[in-house]
């Protein structure tokens, strides 16, 4: 297994990431984690340990890092103030940057980019809204403005479908 001694430093570069250096592996995060409770493939203490040990390749290719429910309980209970959940979001961002993104998350990103919304309206809902006395279409964002913002931070590249996953594209 490839070990990257620079990985801990790489993760520690942000205000969030540098808190990892205070972890003493007590496992309080795993104890309260709902994802760990139902699926032992997701263990926040183990993920932090693997970061500290430099298992970069293993982590960035591990589908299990996406099991976090984003509930932030780990971050609230950590006795060392490690921003566990937020820091593991950073780990996901590194995975996304090399093309490892779950399809449902990628599709959500595409919807946000194309329509300015995660869940756009549809004809059935529009009819139901009108029937209920609500405005037919409540959210009508300026898609061009949102796309300009998202392009500025390099979002389109992150939600591209990679050829090897997309078949004939």
């Amino acid at each position: 297994m490839m070990i990257s001694s620079a990985f801990r430093k790489e993760m520690s570069q942000t205000e969030i990431g540098k808190t990892i250096n205070y972890c003493y592996q007590c496992g309080t995060c795993a104890g309260i984690c709902p994802a760990f409770r139902v699926n032992s493939n997701y263990n926040p203490r183990r993920l932090v340990e693997d970061i500290l040990l430099g298992f970069k390749d293993k982590l960035l290719n591990d589908k299990n890092i996406w099991l976090c429910t984003t509930c932030h309980l780990c971050l609230e209970v950590c006795p060392q103030g490690v921003l566990v959940s937020e820091m593991l979001f950073d780990l996901r961002h590194m995975a996304v940057a090399i093309g490892n993104i779950p399809e449902n998350i990628r599709e959500e990103g595409v919807r946000v980019f194309n329509t300015g919304l995660n869940l756009p309206n549809n004809p059935a809902i529009a009819r139901r809204r009108t029937k209920m006395g609500l405005k037919e279409n409540l959210m009508t964002p300026n898609v061009e403005v949102i796309q300009t913002i998202l392009k500025e931070v390099g979002f389109p590249k992150l939600i591209e479908k990679l050829p090897e996953e997309g078949g004939n594209e």
């Binding site: 709902p34 994802a35 139902v38 699926n39 996406w66 099991l67 976090c68 429910t69 984003t70 509930c71 932030h72 309980l73 971050l75 609230e76 209970v77 921003l83 937020e86 979001f89 950073d90 996901r92 961002h93 996304v96 993104i101 779950p102 399809e103 449902n104 998350i105 990628r106 959500e108 990103g109 946000v112 300015g116 919304l117 995660n118 869940l119 756009p120 309206n121 549809n122 809902i125 139901r128 209920m132 006395g133 609500l134 405005k135 409540l138 959210m139 009508t140 964002p141 300026n142 403005v145 949102i146 300009t148 913002i149 998202l150 500025e152 931070v153 390099g154 979002f155 992150l158 939600i159």
Partner: protein, 291 residues
Amino acid sequence: MSEYALFVGCVIANRYPHLEKSGRMVLENLRIKFKDIPEFGCCPNPTGTLQISREAWTAAAAHNLCLAEDKGLDILTFCNGCYETLKSANVEMKNDPHHKDVVNKILSKVNMEFKGSINVVHFLEYVYKIITPEKLKETVVKPLTGLRVATFYGCHYGRPSSIVDFDDPIRPVSLDRVVEALGATSVEYLNKHTCCGSAISGIDEDSQLILLKDKLEQIDRVKADLICVICPACYMQLDGNQRKVNSKFGTNYKIPVLYLTELIALAQGIPPAELGLNFHAVKMKELIEKF
């Protein structure tokens, strides 16, 4: 009393408009002044866009904040996800001038600038802190006496507490006090603070449904008449996926799930027929007959 920009969010507006209906009626009843801003876009979702890019999440949130700032309005939202996103972006940029400059450089491409002049409030936070349970009680015409309510806060209402900072992040009380003000009994149950599982629905359905089953099991054990939620994602999971739990685990849960504004609306005497309660996946004939 100030006026608010109402941030309904896409899950309520474009999937569960009946929740919006009760929300608007309750805002009127509570004399909360609000305006719609049609240009509002995706908050964006902390369980979606934030997992792809923190920069994209913050910048798109800042775009919404700027729209409200232009109108001089604080933002009031019905959704935990929108709340965490908009409040995080707002607080983080207000507290960190460097961060604000970085985001403003992005926003300058669309001629916008985040100034830091408004606040973001969740509907429950508003009812609890500004209206107060005592005053809410005065608006009740049909007290929910005898009703056993299991409250569920969801994850993004009180956490991270460094950002939200007004109720306890693990054992919050605001929703329980509000439900009690309506005349109902708030019942305690095990693992109340644990996630409903909604966020991993597209990642691992087995884990998602086990989390939901655990929650329903604990709530059923204390014989709650209904679950009261303050987040449309929790609503989607608890109401919409109860049937899936039953078919997967051979259970027979039929616990009605009401969004807070629906419960307040019933206590304020709004006829159930006006609320679109028929759009709930778990039917609540017995419950409605009480009103």
